[in-house]
């Protein structure tokens, strides 16, 4: 319940619940806060004299949450040397340096706040926050300060800093972007200089320019153009050579040809003092193309940085028990035979066999099964699955290399190497363009020579310049870059360059079930009881409030503060019991709640639902049905795809009937269930023989299919390996954005085709004049820039969907 008159939280801008009364005095004014987290953060900002944050920030902060004890222990494990090895750089002496990613850095004030907060720490050498990349770089003296202390200090002002796994592509993309920027600047400055001299020639209609001066201008232009041809244009040559070595043509082949041939012709003209020079066209051409490439590269760099930032490096540690004592060690140092303790709520660090305790584990991430799996002594458990309700002692059974998850990762690497390549629209058009340009120039040369013209060579060069594919080469990168910006604004992080091209052509879409089409979280579907439903749910919520079983989360929305829980006890595989307002309640399986001992478990319950029972003094009060709820937008996405005549398949690792239920609800074309990661990949590969396939997934078990599909989407809440395998990451898990993305890619395709039509149309228009020998250099340059501007303006229309 919110009061319309009540102001929103001063710190994060969220609405404040009417029963919350928290305030902080900021700049002598009492400001209201929505939660203890925000209040704590605001108070510590004020206490440290950093009120300026509130005066100068341009965006509200993110809602602050207090660190839970588990997160605190996680922070401490960042101090372990073996774990630090992965991301900390050892400087001279005892100094260490690290680059962290910080969540929710939105404006310069955030950066300032974090830096000020850290500066006061003794032992800190240097800290700097980059708001563009949302990264914090710190250097500190290790024996005076600990990394966990730095992270905690950042947390105090409401930000979460993490070490991250740098995307393999990131460093490369950054270096390439900087290289393009350097080349762009050189080409730009050179164009300006050359254009000055060219202008003098263009406007010399009265012939007032003396021969000596005109010659001087040519030689100066020649010198200026040298770096453009030999330095700035290198990337075009490199691309062209690799294309030719692969026995195909791309746009860069024609670009390189145009640059090199017109340069050679202009040099001959300069030396022999005959014919036209095209130095200004060369440098302008290079400048335009580099602008396109630079902007494209910057978008790629940004995508690589964002995708690195979401790959948080959570320290994998394990509690090893040896000779009666517990030690925390990094998970990768575990070896066969080690005995480890895994507490409820923790991620199991290694594959092993249970030697003590029984519990439920959540294996959805590896198998796609939404229900918890009961584990007893002697059962196998797997690394990266979660232990749910009671402590387990596990004997490690294999080295890190042989773990189930490592096998899946190997499969993923294999499939990403074997991924089918689709030729892009631009490449297939480029083939014809290159052949067209070369044959046209040759024909012109041969034709004029046969006619006995002396300047046949110069006319052929003019044809080459006129057909120069400047606008053509800008047609796709400009459209992709604009579309990329729109996609990012919509919460879709596009990582691969040809995503739009493929997305427009898909004929089949495969979905993982758990965590992708469904939320992977249980929700109450209905309640059978004589008592009011709200009362039953409040009782359940109270009982489950202290549990971290996945079922407990189904009830969090129903909590009622008037119910008081005491003497709460959980029984593994059974349920939970406790005293509420003086009565004893039990919630769990039928046998547990009714005190039965019969081993025959009722099979009446259907697989898509989990049925639990609430009893008071072993009298059944209510039967509650829970279901792994389908995401609200799954249906609209499947409907959208069906309307486009795109087939849909649910490709799930879960073998239960839940798949049939989801299929019936969503009306997908096919259902393939009970698939191991390798089965999924086989199914996908056989589909890809004839169809263009998109794959959606979130779990580790989806990673190989995501890597092998023509195009793949990972949920933002999914596993890191899924996100790093996918081409597109759904940052907010909102499936409706996917249909917007597909619509956009269809539009991108349309715009690219328009761009090609315009660019080729212009070239065709100019060609007759060039063949007739009536196209002076300045007209060629003018036409080239005009058609480039038209193409880019057309591409800019793609930014319209951006919010």
């Amino acid at each position: 319940m919110t009061n319309p008159l009540q102001p929103d939280c001063y710190h994060c801008g969220l609405a404040i619940d009417s029963n919350v009364d928290l305030t902080v005095t900021i700049n002598e004014q009492v400001q209201t806060m929505c939660c203890l987290g925000c209040q704590g953060v605001a108070q510590s900002i004020i206490d440290n004299g950093l009120e300026n944050y509130y005066s100068y920030r341009t965006e509200k902060g993110a809602q602050a949450t207090e660190l839970i004890p588990q997160e605190l222990t996680e922070l401490l494990s960042y101090d372990i040397d073996e774990i630090q090895q992965e991301f900390v750089e050892q400087m001279s002496g005892a100094q260490k340096s690290v680059i962290l990613t910080v969540e929710n850095v939105t404006c310069a004030a955030c950066a300032w706040l974090i830096e000020k907060q850290l500066v006061t720490l003794p032992g800190l050498i240097q800290c700097n926050v980059n708001t563009t990349t949302a990264r914090l770089s710190v250097t500190w003296v290790d024996n005076e300060l600990k990394l966990s202390k730095i992270l905690l200090q950042v947390a105090k002002v409401g930000y979460k800093a993490y070490p991250f796994q740098p995307d393999a592509a990131e460093e490369n993309e950054l270096a390439t972007a900087n290289a393009y920027l350097r080349k762009l600047v050189v080409a730009g400055l050179a164009t300006m200089q050359v254009m000055m001299f060219a202008m003098a020639n263009y406007f010399d209609v009265l012939g007032t320019l003396s021969d000596g001066l005109a010659d001087y201008f040519r030689w100066v232009s020649f010198i200026i153009v040298l770096p453009v041809v030999f330095y700035c244009s290198q990337p075009f040559y490199a691309n062209a050579i690799s294309a030719i070595l692969a026995k195909r043509f791309n746009m860069d082949v024609s670009v390189s040809l145009a640059i090199i041939l017109s340069f050679i012709a202009s040099v001959i003209a300069t030396v022999n003092d005959t014919g036209e020079v095209y130095f200004e066209s060369i440098s302008m051409f290079a400048f335009f193309l580099l602008t396109g490439r630079f902007i494209e590269q910057r978008a790629k760099k940004k995508a690589a940085q964002t995708s690195s930032n979401i790959l948080k490096l959570i320290p994998a540690t394990a509690q090893v028990i040896s000779e009666g004592t517990q030690r925390t060690v990094p998970a990768k140092t575990l070896s066969i035979g080690d005995i480890i303790l895994v507490k409820p709520g923790q991620i199991i660090p290694a594959d092993g066999i249970i030697v003590e305790g029984n519990s439920n584990t959540n294996e959805a991430i590896l198998t796609g099964e939404s229900l918890a799996v009961i584990k007893e002594i002697g059962d196998n458990v797997y690394a990266s699955t979660e232990n749910i309700d009671s402590p387990l002692t596990i004997e490690v059974s294999c080295n890190s290399h042989d773990r189930l998850i490592s096998q899946i990762i190997r499969l993923q690497e294999q499939s990403s190497n074997n991924r089918p390549k689709l030729a892009t629209l631009a490449d297939s058009i480029a083939q014809y363009v290159v052949i067209g340009i070369i044959s046209l120039s040759l024909l012109t040369y041969v034709g004029w020579t046969l006619l006995g013209a002396d300047d046949a060579f110069w006319i052929a060069i003019a044809v080459l310049i006129a057909t120069c594919p400047c606008a053509l080469s800008l047609a796709t990168p400009s459209a992709y870059t604009c579309a990329n910006a729109t996609m990012t604004a919509n919460g879709l992080l596009v990582k691969s360059a040809d995503a739009f091209d493929i997305l427009a052509k898909i004929t089949h879409v495969c979905f993982d079930k758990t965590g992708t089409l469904t939320s992977g979280v249980f929700k109450v579907s209905h309640v059978d009881s004589a008592l009011p439903t709200s009362e039953i749910l409040a009782l359940c919520a109270t009982l489950e409030s202290s549990s971290n079983h996945p079922i407990a989360s189904a009830f969090t929305d129903y909590q009622d503060p008037s119910y008081q829980l005491s003497d709460c006890q959980a029984s593994s595989g059974g349920g939970i019991e406790g005293m509420i307002n003086g009565h004893h309640y039990q919630l769990g399986s039928k046998n547990y709640t009714l005190g039965l001992t019969d081993t025959v478990v009722s099979t009446a319950q259907s697989d898509q639902q989990v049925t639990i029972y609430l009893s008071c003094k072993q009298q059944l009060l209510a039967t509650i049905y829970l279901v792994d709820s389908i995401r609200t937008h799954s249906k609209s996405l499947i409907d959208f795809l069906t309307r486009l005549n795109i087939d849909t398949t649910i490709l799930t690792g879960d073998a239960s009937n839940h798949g049939d239920y989801v299929m019936a609800q969503l009306n997908t074309t096919y259902l393939v269930k009970g698939q191991s990661p390798a089965d999924k990949l086989d199914y996908l590969m056989s589909l890809q023989q004839g169809e263009i396939v998109a794959m959606f997934g979130d779990g580790v078990n989806d990673a190989p299919v995501l890597a092998g599909a023509h195009i793949s989407f990972a949920m933002g809440s999914g596993s890191d390996i899924a996100k790093s395998s996918a081409d597109i990451v759904l940052l907010h898990d909102d499936l409706t954005k996917v249909s917007a993305g597909i619509k956009l890619s269809l539009k991108v395709n349309r715009i690219i085709k328009q761009n090609f039509c315009w660019a080729i149309g212009y070239n065709l228009l100019a060609v007759p004049f060039a063949i007739a020998g009536m196209l002076p250099p300045y007209l060629a340059a003018l036409g080239m820039s005009l058609s480039s501007v038209v193409v880019i303006t057309n591409s800019l229309r793609l930014l319209k969907g951006k919010q």
């Binding site: 100068y56 310069a108 004030a109 050498i125 240097q126 990349t133 350097r182 600047v185 001087y216």
Partner: protein, 65 residues
């Protein structure tokens, strides 16, 4: 017009110097965070205050500039 013979090489040298500075700026990461520096002037005053209060960590302040 003879002055052109002299001035054009001078202009070229200036352009070369400009390019050199630009390369230096890219190398020293001046273009890595374009959003941030515009707003920094707002906080400048406090940095000096902080310096007086925190003479123990002058290095940290220097590096922020």
């Amino acid at each position: 017009m003879n002055i052109l013979l002299m001035l054009i090489p001078v202009a070229l040298i200036l352009v070369t110097i400009a390019v050199w500075f630009f390369f230096w700026a890219i190398k020293s990461e001046q273009f890595d965070d374009l959003d941030r520096q515009g707003a920094n002037i707002l906080f400048d005053e406090d940095l000096h205050e902080q310096k007086k209060q925190q003479p123990t960590s002058p290095k940290a302040n220097d590096s922020e500039k």
